[in-house]
């Protein structure tokens, strides 16, 4: 177990290192930096001014030097300054994280609570009318763009509450907050719940075909006992993996959802930073997202081994 953990952690570091190189290079092969954008769109014209900005941000140095400066700073806890706001990157990113984290958590709860039971029902009643309804529902979950679903929800809000919910102010109470956040969480969680449901269904169907299910039936166990004690206990293992992966990957869906609902979280912030070529924000944020993904993956694998007696990471 210890050796396994050490190997996994080493691979994680390697992955993050690779990601840091990739994101750094990718950002710098983009034609145009923030100075160009400022001068193109903001109507600045003085070339000397532009050169001064470029030099001040270190954009005239070789890429390798810029990279080392960034990584060196990272190890000292210095994430640099946002080009745009000129505030420390950490101060820009940190306050936005809890907002996105709350949304992701709500969406995840939503998708698990809805996805798992529907998946089980759909598998147990395979090819019944109910199965078809659930399958169509879940497929539509995978088909509706979450930003459109968000827009539809806003439309409904306008119609029933007279206005669009506002996310920039601090909510009055926990209840208000929950209510406010559950709208975008549903918009993004619908897709995840569809994924969870589909995986639960196929995993359950796979398990229900196994010989040990027949054994359980031959012992005289009832359908419910067979489905839950023998079926779900086995089927739930891959489902945990997908829920874990979704936890990290919800960020993708949150990018558009936060944009639609105008929520000041990290996901929308990433898009804004990309648009403005605000390198310090983009690269640090991407590294943060990658860190979350690899850590969640590790947690999922450890959880899996705890739940499946066949898997022991002995080597």
């Amino acid at each position: 177990m210890g050796a396994y953990l050490v190997r996994r952690l080493a691979l994680m570091v390697l992955t993050l290192f690779g990601m840091s190189v990739v994101i750094f290079v990718l950002l710098r092969i983009v034609p145009g930096n923030i100075a160009d954008i400022l001068f193109d769109s903001a109507g600045m014209v003085d070339p000397a001014e532009k050169a001064r900005i470029v030099a001040e941000l270190g954009l005239d140095q070789p890429i390798a030097a810029q990279y080392l400066k960034w990584i060196g700073g990272l190890f000292q806890g210095d994430l640099g300054y946002s080009y745009l706001s000129e505030k420390p990157t950490i101060e820009e990113i940190a306050p936005r994280i809890p907002i996105t984290a709350k949304l992701a958590l709500l969406a995840l709860i939503f998708s698990t609570v809805i996805g798992v039971p529907l998946g089980v029902i759909s598998a147990v009643r395979q090819n019944s009318g109910l199965d078809y309804v659930i399958r169509v529902l879940s497929l539509s979950g995978l088909s509706l763009p979450s930003f459109w679903l968000g827009l539809l929800i806003l439309m409904a809000a306008v119609r029933y509450f007279g206005d669009i919910p506002i996310y920039t102010r601090t909510p009055a109470s926990l209840w208000d907050e929950l209510l406010l956040y559950s709208l975008p969480a549903a918009a993004v969680g619908f897709r995840s719940s569809a994924l969870v449901m589909r995986l639960t269904r196929s995993s359950m169907l796979e398990v229900l075909r196994q010989d040990y299910i027949r054994t359980a039936r031959s012992k005289g166990a009832s359908a419910a006992a067979v489905n839950f004690n023998h079926g779900l206990r086995n089927a739930v293992l891959p489902v945990i993996t997908i829920i874990g992966i979704e936890a990290a990957f919800l960020l993708g869906g949150l990018i558009v959802t936060e944009t639609v609902f105008n929520i000041p979280g990290v996901a929308r912030f990433l898009v804004e930073a990309i648009r403005w070529r605000d390198y310090p924000i983009v690269q640090n944020l991407v590294m943060f997202i990658a860190l979350v993904v690899v850590v969640v993956n590790l947690i999922v694998d450890l959880l899996y081994s705890a739940l499946d007696p066949r898997i022991r990471y002995a080597d």
Partner: protein
């Protein structure tokens, strides 16, 4: 499932056999059987075909030029002239949706094909050759998979710059690791198959074995994977364009039609919000239905 109560009278052999699809002959009969067995897949095929038709014959189907503006028709509500209304610049929404099918399908099919092509190549090499190549590929895949697909596509799209071609590439690249993984694991098991050993025994070259024996046997998973990915690439294009980092003007992209209208039109011109979303959802829904049926047909493990 087992019969809960045995009902001998229900043993109507002819009806039971018809349900099971016995005595089906000819391609017409086989098609009908497929439709009956996979009704959802058939619906998906119809939806998908309709969109392909609209895309191919957009010049005939669309009543107006999707790009011509008309200030007097700005934000016109749906009417006989403007079937689905007009946008802020007075362009016909219906015509733009019809032409948008071209963009959506071009990016969807293009990115899926490109991503699968590279994924197959990488997966085949990695799985078949093994050794240090495999190790390196595995680590690169780890890196690429450490970002959510949309985030990866977003970064790619931003660094490549906005154009139709670049959008296709930006969406294709995050697909590569997914495809490569599946192909690699398939290749690994195929490599140990007796017929591969036999080919080696008669002195067939490794490259030839890989192309002649291993690749054709990964065809079914590739088709399943490709149809499953198609819906998600179409959605990714819509998301990228919605965020303003996808297909640029003047192409009528469904995703951008929504971003242009987004929140403010929620109150004033809901048709600008509803119809492009319906188009995206429908085509992805159709593709997903089709993809599910294809998987059920080709993947024997999923069969019931």
């Amino acid at each position: 499932m087992t019969d809960s109560r045995i009902d001998f009278t229900a043993a109507d052999h002819a009806a039971e056999l018809a349900r099971a699809g016995a005595h089906v002959t000819g391609w017409r009969g086989a098609t009908l059987l497929l439709i009956r067995r996979y009704p959802l897949g058939a619906i998906g095929a119809v939806i998908f075909t309709l969109f392909v038709f609209a895309a191919v014959f957009a010049d005939v189907v669309a009543p107006m030029d999707p790009l011509s503006t008309n200030s007097r028709a700005s934000l016109a509500a749906p009417s006989a002239t403007y079937l689905l209304g007009a946008d802020f610049m007075g362009r016909d929404v219906f015509s733009r949706l019809v032409y948008g099918a071209r963009i959506s399908l071009a990016v969807g099919l293009g990115a899926t094909a490109l991503g699968c092509l590279f994924g197959i190549l990488v997966g085949l090499l990695s799985g078949y050759l093994g050794g240090w190549i495999d190790l390196v590929v595995q680590r690169v895949i780890d890196i690429m998979q450490s970002l959510p697909l949309l985030v990866m596509a977003l970064v790619m799209a931003a660094s490549l710059g906005p154009s139709l071609r670049n959008t296709i590439i930006a969406i294709a690249i995050p697909l590569v690791p997914n495809v490569a993984r599946v192909i690699r694991s398939n290749t690994l098991s195929l490599r140990e198959m007796p017929f591969v050993e036999a080919a080696r025994a008669v002195g067939m070259g490794e490259l030839r074995i890989a192309l002649r024996h291993v690749l054709p046997n990964t065809l079914a998973p590739i088709i399943v994977l490709a149809t499953a990915q198609l819906g998600s690439t179409i959605l990714t294009e819509a998301s990228l364009s919605f965020l303003g980092l996808g297909v640029p003007e003047p192409h009528p992209s469904w995703g951008r039609m929504l971003s242009e209208s987004a929140a403010e039109y929620v109150r004033t011109a809901p048709w600008l919000v509803i119809f492009p979303g319906v188009a995206i959802s429908l085509i992805v829904f159709g593709t997903n239905l089709l993809g599910d049926a294809v998987r059920d047909i080709l993947d024997p493990r999923q069969r019931s």
